[in-house]
Symmetry: C2
C-alpha cells in the first residue's frame, strides 16, 4: 500500500506543486453559462477535471457547493471524485468534518475507506471537539493510505478568537497545540498522513510550523489575498511541505481550456521562481 | 413567519421536552435486523419517525451515518426530513458544519433555505473558524425562521483542550466567548434563533449558561453517561431552555413500536419529575 504522503510527493514531483479548488459558487456557475442546478454543477465540476486532470497534481472539491443540491449534488461529487482518480490526480475533499466517537468513525467510513462512494485521497477535518476526537479519521487514514488535513490556523479574519486562544497549560495557542499534536502523531505512525490547514493570508501566522513533518494545505491564495510568491517568507523552512490551493483564480477562467491551462501555468511558474 | 424558537416551544409544550437522535450506527442496524446499506438505513430511520413522529417534539438525524452511504444515503436523509415535517415534529440536522464566507453561505443554502432538498428546522454548526464565520448561517436562520445550534462545550473528554482554552482577552474560555456572542446576537435579532450545544456528561460545565436566551441542545444523555435527572443541578436556571437529546437509549429498543414508546414515556416522565 502506498501512503498518502508518498502519492502526494510523486504527483507534485511530476506535475508541480499546486492544488486546484473545485468550488462551484453560484456566481461562477453563472459566469460559465451553466445553470445553478445539478446538471450545471456536473458540467462545471467535471469540465475542470476533464481539462486540467492530467496537468494538476491535486484537486480540492468543496463539499458545501455539492451539498447545496442535496443528494443529486452528492451524486455529482461521487462522479467528480472518480474522474480525479481516473486521470491520475489526487483528491482532497474539503468537508471540514469533526465529531466524536462512533460518529467520527462514520465520517471516516464515508470518506476514507476503500470502496466508499465518496472515498477521497484525503479530507479536511475540524478540531473544535479536540484533536483526540479525530482519532477515528486518523486510524482510517493510516489503514487505507489516505490523508487527513486538520484545521489549525485558518485564512479568515475571525479565526484567531478560537485558534489563538491560550491552551490550558498556558504554554501555547490552540493552533500550536494542534500543530504539535499532529507532528507527534506523524512521528509515531511514520506515515505523514496528518496534514494541517494553514491560511496563506496572514502577515504573521501566530504559530510555528517549522519542521512540520507532513503536508500543509494553504488556501487563501488569490481571491482571498494570499500570494504564492509570499509563501517562503510566511512559512520559512516549512515551505517545502506547503501545498498551495487556488480556486477562483484558476476556475474563474473556464470553461475555455486554453484559459484554464494558462492560469495553472502562471501559478506553477510563480511557485518555481520562489527561491 | 414563525420563528424556530416559537415552533420549538409550541412543540415541546404539546409533546414534552425531548429530542430523539436518529443515529443509524452499524451495530444498531444489525440489532434491528436490517442491512448496512441504503435500504436498511431507510427502513431504520423512517421507522423511527413512523412510530414516534406524532409523540416526540424534535428529531435529530446524524448526517454522518447517512453520508457513509454516499448520495443514496443522502437521498434517504431527504426523505427522513420530509417525514419529520409531515408528522408535525421538528428536525435538528446534526451536521456540525463550519466554514467561511461564501462556503458557509453554501452550507446555509443547503440546510436553512426554504425549498432546499435538505432543509431542516435547525442544524448544528462548529465554530473552530470563529463565531463570526458562522454569520451566513445566522442570516439564513433569521430570514427563514430556522435555527442554528453552535457547539460550545461538547460532551466528549477531549473537548476541553480547545473549548476551555483562554480567549485572547484573557477574560474567559473559548466556550464562554461563544456563549456570550450567541446571547448578544439573539438579543439583537429578537429571534432566539442561535442555540448552543452543551454536553450533559460533565460534573461541572466549566462555563456559565445562566440566563441564556435561546435553546440549549444537550446530547450525551443515556449511552454517554448523562442523566436527565441531573440536568437541573448541572444547568441551574438555564434548565428551562435545555432540550435533552437521547439517541441509543430510545432507538436501541426498536423496531418494536411498544418498546420505542415505552422508552420515550420513561424519559419524558424523568424530565417532568425534576423539580
Amino acid at each position: 500500500m502506498s501512503t498518502y504522503w508518498q502519492r502526494l510527493n510523486a504527483r507534485t514531483d511530476a506535475r508541480g506543486n499546486l492544488c486546484v479548488g473545485i468550488d462551484p459558487h453560484p456566481p461562477l456557475l453563472k459566469a460559465w453559462g451553466v445553470a445553478d442546478d445539478p446538471s450545471g454543477l456536473e458540467r462545471f465540476a467535471r469540465r475542470i477535471v476533464e481539462v486540467l486532470g492530467e496537468r494538476v497534481a491535486v484537486f480540492k472539491p468543496q463539499s458545501a457547493f455539492f451539498e447545496r443540491h442535496g443528494s443529486a449534488g452528492i451524486a455529482v461529487l461521487e462522479r467528480v471524485l472518480r474522474d480525479i482518480e481516473a486521470v491520475g490526480a489526487l483528491s482532497i475533499l474539503d468537508v471540514k468534518r469533526g465529531d466524536i466517537g462512533s460518529t467520527m468513525g462514520a465520517y471516516a467510513d464515508a470518506y476514507l475507506v476503500d470502496g466508499a462512494p465518496l472515498a477521497a485521497d484525503a479530507i479536511t477535518v475540524s478540531p473544535y471537539l479536540g484533536f483526540g476526537s479525530l482519532q477515528p479519521a486518523f486510524d482510517a487514514a493510516h489503514r487505507f493510505g489516505r490523508g487527513v488535513y486538520v484545521l489549525a490556523r485558518t485564512s479568515n479574519p475571525e479565526g484567531h478568537l478560537v485558534q489563538l486562544a491560550l491552551g490550558e497549560d498556558h504554554e501555547g495557542s490552540v493552533a500550536q497545540e494542534i500543530i504539535d499534536a499532529a507532528s507527534s502523531a506523524n512521528a509515531a505512525s511514520r506515515q505523514a498522513a496528518i496534514g494541517l490547514v494553514v491560511g496563506g493570508t496572514h502577515n504573521d501566522l501566530g504559530c510555528d510550523v517549522s519542521g512540520f513533518n507532513a503536508s500543509i494545505l494553504v488556501p487563501g491564495i488569490g481571491f482571498q489575498g494570499g500570494r504564492i510568491e509570499d509563501l517562503p517568507a510566511l512559512f520559512g523552512d516549512a515551505v517545502d511541505v506547503v501545498l498551495p490551493a487556488v480556486s477562483r483564480d484558476v476556475i474563474g477562467a473556464g470553461p475555455d481550456a486554453a484559459a484554464l491551462h494558462d492560469r495553472v501555468d502562471r501559478l506553477l511558474a510563480a511557485a518555481v521562481q520562489t527561491p
